[in-house]
């Protein structure tokens, strides 16, 4: 495998008495796209949120390009987070700023870029997601698919080493899903390291290097997309796949 860019080592997460993640080990190599599936409540979101410590892991560590994000000071954490782009199911664009403002904010305030530099970079990123012409639109004037692409541009503008996607297309009308997946495919082609939680099996077949099936806070099975989808080994994986295929 290529150099690991994201590595979860013995990750555990409990909410009170509830164990949500149990001893998760996962390596994502440089330029690799790892695709995560699993039933609702299996801990997929929590796993992603532990990667940038939006959720504090109970134990275990998370390494980003070899650096341990779980063992750093609050100040260093803010810097480390710049290496991890995160895309949420609900977009979470800032509704009081236009598209370019959304993409500029962290560049200026967290990276320390000048406004001009940040604006140029923001326009470049909006161009990349096909929304250069919407740069001064407010989020409320954009479709869900467009909002999600702006959110991707917002993350990309910080030059992250890894991109985390938490069900990026689940809140979208079916006809808008394609535009977001196209951007993600383009990212993958350009060599971005990606950890993607999603139900878009077609996308996984085309773009994923590995698929991971999670259930009950553990990684039940992992393998090539074709192997997992056509010939799952674990009974739980089989049950899940037959359920989502209907």
């Amino acid at each position: 495998m290529t150099r690991p860019m994201l590595e979860l080592v013995g990750l555990n997460k409990r909410f009170g008495d509830l164990t949500v993640l149990h001893d998760i080990h996962l390596r994502v190599g440089q330029g690799e796209l790892v695709f995560v599936i699993g039933p609702s409540g299996s801990g997929k979101s929590t796993m992603l949120r532990c990667c940038n410590r939006l959720e504090e892991p109970t134990s275990g560590s998370v390494l980003i390009d070899g650096a341990d994000i779980t063992a750093c000071s609050p100040r260093a954490l803010n810097k480390m987070r710049l290496n991890l782009g995160m895309v949420f199911q609900g977009f979470h664009l800032y509704p009081h700023m236009d598209a370019v403002g959304n993409v500029m904010l962290a560049q200026v305030k967290a990276l320390g870029r000048s406004k001009d530099e940040a604006r140029a970079r923001a326009l470049e990123m909006l161009d990349r997601v096909g929304l250069r012409h919407k740069s001064d639109a407010m989020p409320s004037a954009l479709s869900g698919g467009q909002q999600q692409r702006v959110a991707i541009a917002r993350a990309l503008a910080l030059d992250p080493k890894v991109m985390l996607f938490d069900e990026p297309t689940s809140a979208l009308d079916p006809e808008l899903v394609g535009s977001v997946l196209a951007v993600m495919k383009d990212l993958r082609t350009s060599g971005m390291t990606m950890l993607v939680v999603s139900h878009e099996m077609g996308f996984a077949r085309e773009a994923a290097d590995r698929v991971i099936f999670m259930d009950g806070g553990v990684i039940v099975e992992e393998g090539q997309p074709e192997a997992i989808f056509t010939n799952p080994q674990a009974e739980r994986t089989r049950a899940f796949l037959s359920r989502v295929r209907g």
Binding site: M86, F88, G90, H92, Y94, H96, L105
Partner: protein, 221 residues
Amino acid sequence: MEDFIRLFLNVEVMLRTWPLLKQGLWMTAQLCAVVIGLGLVGGLFLSFLAMAKSRWLRWPAFVVIDVLRAVPPLVLLIFIYSGLPFAGLDISPFAAVAVAFFLNNSAYYAEIYRAGIQSIPAGQTEAARATGLTSAQAMAYVVLPQAVRNVLPDLLSNTVEVVKLTSLASVVSLAELLYSANMARSLTYNSSPLVMAALIYLAFLWPLVRLVSRYQRKLAV
């Protein structure tokens, strides 16, 4: 009718006493600037304390906010104005009024800010933190601008209340607008200065009140 106009709407008396009222208006304006300005800042600070993670900050903040909202502002004013000298602190009427109403007003602003901040979904802060902003930056650039916009009608209405509240300062002989008008009345044996004072309050506050209504209607749809 003639008598009514002579005693209440006497333009000649109004013009004659205008210089006095103008001074009072200036005092009221200064008082408002101090109380509203400090109140907006103090209220924000109190609201942060009231939402702090540590209960050792949160609890005292709640107590302070509740007490300040429960005590009538006039009682607080008299307490500060006549009580502090006993503690060896000589305090001018202006300072007493400013402190009393600043305290009272901060508590109200704090509750308004808190409602506004809590109305912003957690996802906003998370998105900001995920891009490397500190919690203070996320608050300043992402949460607060939206929160303030959401509660602007309430902030404005409270500000209207503060302006009206300053007329209580006449109790400690601070020569603000109402005090000056009342003095003019006793000098001229004519109530027209009071009517003029009322008209001045109206001229300043009516547009604000209209603005509040318009905002509330806009937020409702």
